[in-house]
Point group: C2
Chain length 367, copies 2
């Protein structure tokens, strides 16, 4: 196997998928995995086989790709840009049950006007801002009902994403934000219903809140993405153990700076991505946790620096004879900060099956 | 044009290429552009047309790709991993004048032994550490001569890269590090020659030092990469003006948080990359400088936050009615921190020619 390579431990991945599906069952909601993490047909197939009822996508290209592979029920969870409506229309005309989202009157009007022109009733969910993280209309905002009225028969429900959960790292705080995510999204649905409009779908989720929620009363579906692979950011948040991380980068030692204790690897930022998601967390893993070739974390050895095709691995707080212990040509594996960002640096995964066989699983990218 | 799209201003690119080629001519050295920034055949063609004598690559895949397009003289400027030698051999057997690099006895021995086994005399340069930045053997290190002796007839010269120049931002400091890069690399060559071995090539370079060197006496060739596009990191270092940046990301406004003054764009980190290279520089541009659709920088408007497919643009230190001034669907352009990292997020550039025509220029990626 050449290096750098994105290795996917399929046994761990399957366990992660089962775990999240089990959460959804226990909480009495459907699971709609976000495929933006992996963008891979084989992973989607595993999620569907485990019980997922549809998928969430971050680009219309993903929608087209996975629809072509037989997935019909697709939620495009980024506020609809008016110029992308012809692409969405084409998908619906081919039979894709594509749902759009919006959080503004201007956005809703663009969708409804375009639909009217083309005799298409789009399915649209209103994005709710539950935590000030990014997009969405607040549940109590007067615009919520105006948007709902404007959408009329296109209104499919409400959706939210507690992105602020990524900044937390205690079970108590995560439970609290999961409850806030649930309560505010349900409150928005109830305001819409109280105004005499139907609001069938109530969709919430992020990996940290999905794994922390005690109740999802009033919610119909759960969305989460990174759980299929997990990563060091999720480990720092406290929702997975290191031995649950399914994605790693296989690399080769290509040099040393013996006096500094540096091991130079052929995995730099082009392989790991520039994501430094653990920088502000309780443990900063640099550009990744270095493991042996078989995946055992090497205590204190982090990828502390990265240039385009060079990584610098270094022991934290101890002196090691790196040339003797990690000679030229040694294979290592690096656990990434952020699986979504590292995955996208590769065109495929080397998927290691439970029996040790390795398959090439292609990965979508771009727009 | 759909968004996000990587726009390449070909007029600016041509000017940047001419500028660097002019530097090489003035300094009396050959120019071997590093193609890792753009990985694009049309850009290489422009560099060769301007006078470049060969190219530098960061992966053997780049070497294969550009050799297939007629570039014969190729330097692979990452320390050779022994397991990649069969790939290098295949390239040489096909007629590619491929040069490898090494900075260790173990690496040299692997190359020489493999070459002996296959009756191939590889061309190898010794990497010199001029500034403690990353790889390389110090000019005064006893290993330098041992490596040179081991390489024997394979020894093609010495090479260095003053990566520490990226941390500087005054003309004086840049001139000083350019001189240090030159002097230490020349010193290494002279030590080898003094020991009775030939050392034909003396190769130095980085964009900041290439644009700052006063003399390159004793040097035979200059390597630089990012200068073809430039970026905000180079602007902060002081080697280019904002209106010389050739690469930008075209994006669409997909929403707002009016109370916070947030403009939500469809260029998030998937388009911009996670590179925050200006974070520690004299001006932190967040994830990029926002411009109008035609490329005029909008004073104080930065892409301050980024999720996978969402950017958050925000004015620094002033209150603006963002909904009125940047309504849904508005097109904007974003100048990136780091052209190498942003470029790789795309499979092609939309190359805007001087006459306004737009061509799709493909881009290589992966390994």
């Amino acid at each position: 196997m050449d290096t750098p390579t994105a290795l996917l431990d399929v046994t761990r991945m399957q366990r992660n998928i089962q775990r999240m599906q089990g959460r959804a069952s226990t909480l009495g909601v459907q699971l709609r995995p976000h495929v933006k993490t992996h963008k891979c047909a084989e992973v989607v197939a595993a999620q569907i086989a485990a019980g997922a009822t549809g998928i969430t996508v971050s680009t219309l290209k993903e929608a087209e790709y996975f629809f072509a592979q037989g997935i019909r029920d697709i939620l495009y969870a980024v506020a609809m840009a008016p110029h992308k409506l012809p692409q969405a229309l084409a998908l619906r005309r081919e039979g894709c049950a594509l749902t759009l989202i919006t959080d503004s009157l201007a956005g809703s009007k663009a969708i409804v006007d375009f639909g009217r022109l083309h005799a298409e009733t789009f399915a649209v969910m209103i994005e709710i801002d539950c935590d000030g993280h990014r997009s969405g209309v607040k549940p109590q905002d007067p615009r919520l009902l105006e948007i709902a009225r404007l959408l009329g028969t296109s209104l499919a429900g409400v959706l939210t994403h507690a992105g602020e959960s990524y900044g937390l790292d205690t079970p108590q705080a995560l439970q609290a934000i999961a409850e806030l995510e649930r309560a505010r999204c349900v409150a928005a649905a109830e305001r819409i219903r109280a105004a005499g409009m139907p609001c069938a779908q109530v969709s919430v989720g992020s990996t940290p809140t999905a794994l922390s929620a005690v109740s999802l009363e009033g919610v119909t579906e759960l969305r989460a993405g990174v759980y299929a692979f997990f990563d060091l950011v999720m480990h720092n948040i406290g929702v997975c153990h290191l031995d649950e991380l399914a994605l790693s980068v296989l690399t080769t030692v290509i040099g040393h700076q013996p006096e500094k204790g540096w091991i130079i690897t052929d995995a730099g930022w082009m392989a790991m991505s520039r994501d430094r998601g653990t920088q502000a967390q309780k443990r900063d893993f640099g550009y990744g946790q270095v493991c042996t070739e078989t995946g055992e974390p090497i205590d204190g050895l982090l990828l502390s620096g990265a240039n385009q095709e060079h990584g610098v691995a270094q022991f934290q707080g101890k002196k090691v004879d790196v040339v003797a212990q990690f000679p030229l040509g040694t294979r290592l594996r690096i656990l990434p900060n952020h699986a979504c960002a590292t995955g996208t640096q590769f065109d495929s995964y080397s998927a290691v099956l439970e029996n040790g066989d390795v398959q090439v699983w292609e990965r979508l990218r771009g727009w």
